[in-house]
Symmetry: C2
Subunit: 269 residues, 2 copies
């Protein structure tokens, strides 16, 4: 079982709380890491960094850049500009990892959209390197292939990352998105040092909602410990982010959510 | 574009209609093939066969066997018995293909459940051969991995089928389940002569429901013609089943549903 010192609380697990409420709850429950989202920090990332550091917390990653595919070159250029801003925000926030959720095809051409992802990363990777920010390609569950990410498998993410320097472009491995894949253990081993982050939650049955239906660790069917063992054998020893989008959970206070996350983490991760 | 002569109307596309209503609508709209479900034919498959044949239709497949994994040997034995009955029903109905939807893990051990699928097929394949019935392993979309099928990729289905005689155990390729996979074209080519059936529908955005949210061909993002070309290059030239689970569609008459399916088929498949 993973020690509490590795737990990072992804801000969207308490999606309705303020950054300060989340920080306070983390301090109270002994959580050392936090994973903020851009919408909560972009107005003043330096102030957010101070709030987090003054509380004694560290930032595991910033969510999220990506969303590269678009119908026109002009739209794709705007998306690249937004990613350059995201890199600046990550650096200002004091984290070396920007999570990329890569976007969907603007038409029916999914392979074309995958190439747009590669081109988008190629357009920002130098700025990321200069800024001391690594880029983490996150494969999403295939049920999001049409509206959020054409990158839907560890294999597909590995293929994209392999085109870039292994120190600059790697993978974000989230058990919710990849647990079902018969190739998942082979692809985790293949990713090796390119695993930049590890996220946990659970797949509950029945799934209450495609986007907002993630479960608390232990409530579902995912072999979380087995997957953690695999990413650790591949070389990953960093923080483990808990990222759960769930309306029923969001209805609770940040304090109550961090409390249950910390307990479940020590039992099921 | 595929000719109307290849269209098979899967009965569940008009999920609230009787078999007779579906047969009559197929005749009216020039559809030559039908794909019944067990619940509609199991009481008297010989009478169902007569109803279908007298109307001049042919049966493309019977849905569905499978659901092999279970917590105890006794439960698994009962599931095998049910599959033996499904084979008998397929033979009585006059089709040489039983579609297998393979079931979910009784616990968190997804690889163990995949082995139970292999063991289940091994337990029924001789009876299938004697009965002149082929077994079609259908990979379902990964969003069904926890509750309907641990077989969720073409690669996983190919790995299972490869353990058996290529004339007896093959794949059912449904675009809805496999369109998102970066390996799909490689795995279709690998399947080759093992492609026993090809199903079409569309992935609409947003998806109204995980189970009942399939779309009519042309309304979504799936590259249907490209996938049809790939299965044909792999060697498949049989009927193409339209299988759409959708509440809004089911609210219409069988006549109206078959009408729109036949028109969309000739435009988008």
């Amino acid at each position: 079982v993973a020690p509490l010192s590795r737990l990072s609380f992804n801000q969207m697990t308490a999606g309705k709380a303020t950054l300060r409420e989340v920080v306070d709850a983390c301090v109270k429950h002994g959580v050392d890491w936090i994973g903020p989202w851009r919408h909560a920090v972009r107005e003043d990332p330096v102030a957010a960094r101070r709030l987090i550091r003054d509380a004694g917390l560290r930032v595991s990653s910033l969510c999220r850049g990506g969303m590269f595919p678009a119908a026109t070159p002009e739209e794709r250029r705007k998306k690249i500009e937004d990613n350059l801003r995201a890199i600046d925000e990550a650096a200002a926030l004091g984290t070396d990892l920007l999570v990329l959720v890569n976007g969907s095809a603007p038409d029916r051409d999914i392979d074309g959209a995958r190439q747009m992802v590669v081109d988008g990363i190629a357009a920002i990777v130098d700025h990321a390197e200069k800024s001391g920010v690594r880029l983490g390609v996150e494969p999403l569950h295939p049920m999001f292939a049409a509206d959020r990410s054409v990158v839907v498998t560890m294999g597909g993410a590995n293929d994209i990352a392999a085109r870039f320097d292994a120190k600059r472009v790697g993978l974000v491995v989230d058990v919710y998105h990849i647990w079902w894949d018969p190739q998942v253990y082979a692809e985790i081993a293949r990713a090796g040092d390119r695993i930049f982050a590890f996220h946990v939650s659970d797949w509950i049955v029945p799934t209450p909602d495609m986007l907002m239906g993630r479960g608390m660790m232990g409530d579902g069917v995912i072999e979380i410990s087995r997957l953690r063992g695999a990413v650790e054998r591949a070389g990953y020893s960093g923080p483990i982010e808990v990222e759960i989008f769930n309306e029923a959970l969001w209805a609770q206070s940040a304090d109550a959510i961090v409390d249950v996350v910390a307990r479940r983490f020590q039992e099921f991760v």
